[in-house]
């Protein structure tokens, strides 16, 4: 599908070198490696000055939702549940956005987000969704809901490769000295104490969704320095702990601890604290294809007629209604939507090119845009599992200590099987942190198969050595140049984001970008907010 879309774009719309890169291409390295750059062509299209055809059809709608990611789909689901029928969703270039999924050899795998923490008490919207899906079986809004165990991550959840051996858990312990262990404990005790801390306004200091956190200036001051600076200030010097915290920032935010706000760094550890009646503290939810089933469930609320294929290329507030021009990339037809309300659920750097006078609404991309991290999600179809030590069997998440990559996840981990299945997909995650994002993006656009594979397989090769390659049948590498906004120091007080969150006119926004940090709970929260305002 991507291939044909690319072909059409190449033939029909594009001229110029940029176009030949994107979409989907087959790369060779003796291995079947498929590269996939979602949204890249469409992005180039919006930024270039390509002449677009005039609208050939007009269509009146109540609410137009522009963007089929977690936020847009959540809004759609919520509106339909609330009884609204006059909803139309424009998917944009990629259904599911950062929650997208794919399949290799008949096995589903993630192309983006892979897990959801147990929802906090504040995340009522997420609980509502999980209950609707049957994932929460009972007591959805209590402190300890009862979950469907099939999606609670099964033991063993995670292991860390330290100096050629595995250990349980991700905090490095093997061979660490007493001072290191003491500092680790000090940090863990500190963040555990933060979980129930409230600010002067009575709100939790670190809540998820983030906007429900306390605005107490004493705590907000943490946003003025980087996490690395804060750690230094507090006397944390242990290398194992510092690596782990940098890993955590890269894993959640796509940026290292030196580029992450100290407030965000602590938020990761202090905001979650959801519980389940039938799982341990800190358990997470996952499916073979990551959290794609969440967006699929949301999308199932819509009738086919409530969806329109294509991408918004122009959004203009015309006073009595909003005009939205939607380009169908395949047919090259433009449909003009005359919408009473618009929920703009695309990333803000895209919206800046689509929505007329976004700066007039308070958000100026050049002044208010947050840095964007690039990510690479690499899926390996294997036809046999590599040998593992008996005392540390393959875990769901497998991370390498000291690596600047993020380890790999086994997509068939949740199967209930006596023996491992014949084949599986391992998904390796990599965030290009601690590098200039622009330089990374420029490099990734032209990256060769070898270069992508090198990044993709680095942790796997560290662990399994040359044997790794023997097991690999196919590789699919998803490159996300603008994967997510990163919460750099100062992000909490970003006035552009504050302005968009407060909009109450015909155009509203719903996207993880509004929070400044990218997780499903935040994205869906904004979808939920936008929908509730229209119900």
């Amino acid at each position: 599908m991507e291939l044909t879309r690319r072909k059409v774009l190449q033939l029909g719309l594009a001229a110029g070198a940029g176009m030949a890169l994107g979409g989907c291409k087959l790369l060779q390295l003796g291995l079947n490696i498929k590269g996939y750059w979602p949204g890249m062509l469409e992005g180039h299209l919006l930024r270039g000055n390509t002449q677009l055809p005039a609208p050939s059809v007009e269509r009146k709608v109540g609410v137009a939702i522009l963007g089929g990611g977690a936020a847009g789909l959540f809004a759609a689901w919520k509106l339909v549940r609330g009884g609204r029928k006059d909803v139309l969703l424009v998917d944009g270039p990629e259904f599911g956005g950062n929650c997208a999924a794919g399949a290799l050899g008949g096995l589903a795998h993630p192309r983006g987000a892979h897990y959801l923490p147990l929802p906090s008490l504040e995340s009522r919207h997420v609980r509502e969704l999980l209950a609707d899906m049957g994932v929460i079986e009972r007591d959805a809004f209590t402190a300890k809901p009862y979950f469907d165990e099939r999606v609670l991550v099964h033991a063993p959840e995670e292991r860390l490769w330290v100096d050629g051996r595995w250990q349980e858990g991700l905090l490095p312990r093997t061979g660490m000295d007493a001072d290191e262990l003491k500092q680790q404990q000090r940090f863990l005790d500190f963040v555990a104490g933060l979980r129930d801390k409230t600010g002067s306004d009575g709100r939790r200091v670190f809540a998820i969704p983030l906007v429900l956190s306390s605005t107490d200036p004493q705590w907000r001051a943490l946003d003025q320095l980087s996490f690395a600076q804060w750690l230094k200030r507090e006397g944390y010097t242990a290398p194992g702990l510092l690596w782990y915290l940098d890993y955590a920032c890269r894993d959640d935010y796509g940026a290292g601890s030196a580029q992450t706000s100290a407030w965000a760094g602590l938020h990761y550890f202090a905001s979650r604290g959801g519980h389940a009646a039938n799982a341990e503290e800190g358990a997470i939810l996952t499916w073979p294809d990551g959290i794609n089933p969440l967006v699929r469930h949301l999308a199932a609320a819509l009738q086919p007629a409530q969806r329109l294929a294509g991408m918004a290329v122009q959004v203009t507030d015309a006073g009595k209604a909003v005009h939205v021009d939607v380009l169908n990339v395949l047919s090259r037809k433009v449909t003009r939507l005359i919408a009473d309300q618009v929920i703009c659920a695309m990333p803000l750097h895209v919206a800046a090119h689509v929505v007329s006078d976004l700066a007039g609404l308070g958000f100026d991309l050049h002044r208010h845009g947050l840095p964007h991290a690039a990510w690479q999600v690499s899926n390996f179809l294997i036809d046999a599992f590599p040998q593992e030590p008996v005392e540390h069997p393959l875990a769901w998440d497998n991370v390498v200590y000291g690596s600047n990559s993020l380890g790999y996840v086994n997509s068939t981990h949740q199967l209930i099987r006596q023996y491992k299945p014949e084949s599986s997909v391992f998904t390796a995650y990599h965030a290009f942190a601690n590098e200039d994002p622009r330089a990374v993006r420029a490099r990734l656009e032209h990256a060769s198969a070898e270069a992508l594979y090198e990044v993709a397989a680095q942790d796997l090769q560290r662990v399994y050595g040359w044997r790794w390659r023997q097991h690999v049948q196919q590789v699919e590498i998803t490159v996300r140049g603008h994967a997510m906004s990163t919460p750099a120091p100062g992000f909490l007080g970003n006035p552009g984001l504050a302005a968009l969150r407060a909009l109450d006119g015909r155009i509203r926004f719903a996207h993880a970008d509004l929070s400044g940090l990218s997780v499903f709970e935040e994205a869906s929260w904004w979808g939920n907010q936008a929908a509730e305002a229209l119900l």
Binding site: E149, L152, H154, A155, P393, Y419, P421
Partner: protein, 503 residues
């Protein structure tokens, strides 16, 4: 001529050196399982020890080089030759230090073998052969010896002679080299007779062991499995070993006893009949696990039963039990019965895609000794089973021992309850296992144990049944968690319970 002799001994010495390494690797993977890991760690250790040995060889004084070489040969012959036999005996009689003894032997053999070649080179060098020439000749023969053994070992020696005698044979070769060298260089040795004497003793020892090896290994295998092995097979999934002593047939899977033909009837009667006796209307039965066909044999005794589906992962297992004469005699040809349908598939996978409904379901899975097997005893798995059970049907699960593994047993009970079953726990004494536990699950309350049986039974009657459902104080229920997939407490319980029982 003498140089040529030394070169020939290099060939033999190299062959022997590689042979001990292969034997140790093969033995470790045979006895400990996980062959890739065992093999590579043994070979790594061995090579490392060889490095140590060749390093040590430089401390041997120039004038002692020849004598030391002969001594080393004798020692290699003795230790390497007896290594396999010794390891068998250690494994049979003392399980715990086996690994330590194994690696100690590997290190000693490796170090000694590592000394050989440097010593030979020095001996040759003393005899003024051009050094570059020596090196290349020695190495050529070293590698040729290695090639010869690496082919001979798996193709001829191991299958024909067995590991113990192969090692002894190579030991004898080493001693031969020692004696021959001593004789040829007798004029350069201070006291050649000493060497002849020592060599003779070692040779006799090795020769004697070679003759007795068969009896010794049989005796040690008997000590491992108790009895003579009549079938051993490593399938895609597991290692199956069948032993026999008089009329007692035993099956071991990965070293764990599955049944003894002497008392398996107790286990299988207890597993099957408390359910089927109470359900005279049963037509369709599902058995999960139980590829030995013994539970199936009990089920098929009821004439009204129309079809039994047996799902067992390992085709090698069901094939063995439907073709081997003594086993077919034991399960009365159950696996070939017209009413039986054997499916070789992972039970979880089969349950997910099949949508048949059964009047009775009999679960005879392996014990929850690792995370993969633990998943078979989980709420989602039991719910899946529940979907295949008729409204008034009954299910029974083998549930480890309420006596030896009480927390595991009651954890399974709790897991079944959480999956929506009304449970009835019971237990039976099976001499080769000890007190063993089962749990019946029903969709509604009201199960009562049978008070009589329509079919003739060897173990079950009114009184033995009453006792099965009675839990004396030493088997009372303990308060434990259900087995949650998120942390698999059952696997931890199982490990802890049994480690308390076994020493």
């Amino acid at each position: 001529m003498r140089d040529r002799l030394l070169i020939l001994s290099v060939f033999i010495v190299a062959s022997c050196g590689l042979a001990y390494e292969l034997i140790a690797g093969a033995l470790a993977s045979y006895l400990l399982g996980d062959s890739v890991l065992q093999f590579s760690s043994i070979i790594g250790t061995y090579l490392f020890a060889m490095g140590l040995g060749s390093h040590c060889s430089k401390y041997v004084k120039e004038e002692r080089a020849l004598a030391t070489f002969i001594d080393v040969e004798l020692l290699v012959g003795l230790i390497g030759g007896l290594s396999a036999l010794f390891l068998f005996l250690v494994f049979a009689w003392a399980n715990a230090p086996f690994r330590t003894v194994l690696y100690a032997l590997v290190v000693i053999c490796g170090a000694l073998v590592g000394m050989e070649i440097p010593l030979v080179m020095r001996v040759l060098n003393q005899r003024k052969t051009a050094f570059a020439d020596i090196v290349s000749r020695v190495l050529t023969f070293d590698y040729m010896g290695a090639l010869a053994v690496s082919l001979l070992f798996p193709l001829v020696l191991a299958p024909k002679l067995g590991l113990a005698r192969t090692a002894l044979l190579f030991g004898i070769c080493n001693v031969g080299v020692a004696l021959w060298t001593a004789r040829v260089f007798r004029r350069e040795l201070v006291n050649p007779v000493h060497f002849y004497l020592r060599g003779g003793i070692v040779l006799m020892l090795l020769g004697g062991s070679f003759v007795a090896a068969d009896r010794l290994t049989a005796w040690s295998e008997k000590a491992i499995y108790g009895d003579e092995i009549i079938h051993a097979e490593t399938t895609h999934y597991q290692r199956l070993v069948l032993t026999k002593w008089q009329d007692d047939l035993r099956l071991y899977i990965n070293g764990n006893l599955q049944f003894s033909s002497r008392d398996e009837y107790r286990y299988h009667e207890a597993l099957v009949h408390p359910v089927l006796e109470k359900q005279p209307w049963t037509r369709k039965v599902l058995i999960l696990g139980g590829g030995d066909g013994l539970a199936l044999r009990e089920v098929l005794r009821y004439p009204q039963i129309e079809s039994v589906t047996l799902v067992d992962l390992d085709p090698a297992m069901t094939t063995l039990f439907s073709t081997s004469a003594p086993l077919v005699a034991l399960n009365k040809g159950a696996l070939k019965d017209k009413r039986a349908h054997v499916v070789n598939e992972d039970a979880g996978q089969w349950l997910e895609k099949d949508n048949g409904v059964f009047d009775a379901i009999i679960i005879d899975f392996p014990d929850p000794s690792n995370f993969a097997l633990g998943k078979l005893y989980s709420v989602p798995m039991f719910r899946l089973v529940n979907r295949h059970l008729a409204q008034n049907g009954l299910m029974v699960v083998q549930s480890t021992s309420p006596m030896h593994a009480p927390r595991s047993y009651w954890s399974i009970n709790k897991t079944l309850e959480e999956a929506g079953f009304v449970t009835t726990p019971y237990h039976a004494y099976v001499p080769s296992f000890g007190e063993w536990g089962f749990i019946i699950g029903a969709k509604q309350a009201g199960y009562t144990p049978p008070t009589a049986y329509r079919l003739p039974m060897k173990f079950l009657d009114t009184e033995s049944t009453r006792q099965m459902f009675f839990f004396p104080p030493d088997m009372h229920k303990v308060d434990v968690e259900a087995n949650r997939l998120n942390n698999q407490s059952l696997v931890h319980y199982f490990e802890q319970d049994w480690s308390r029982v076994l020493r």
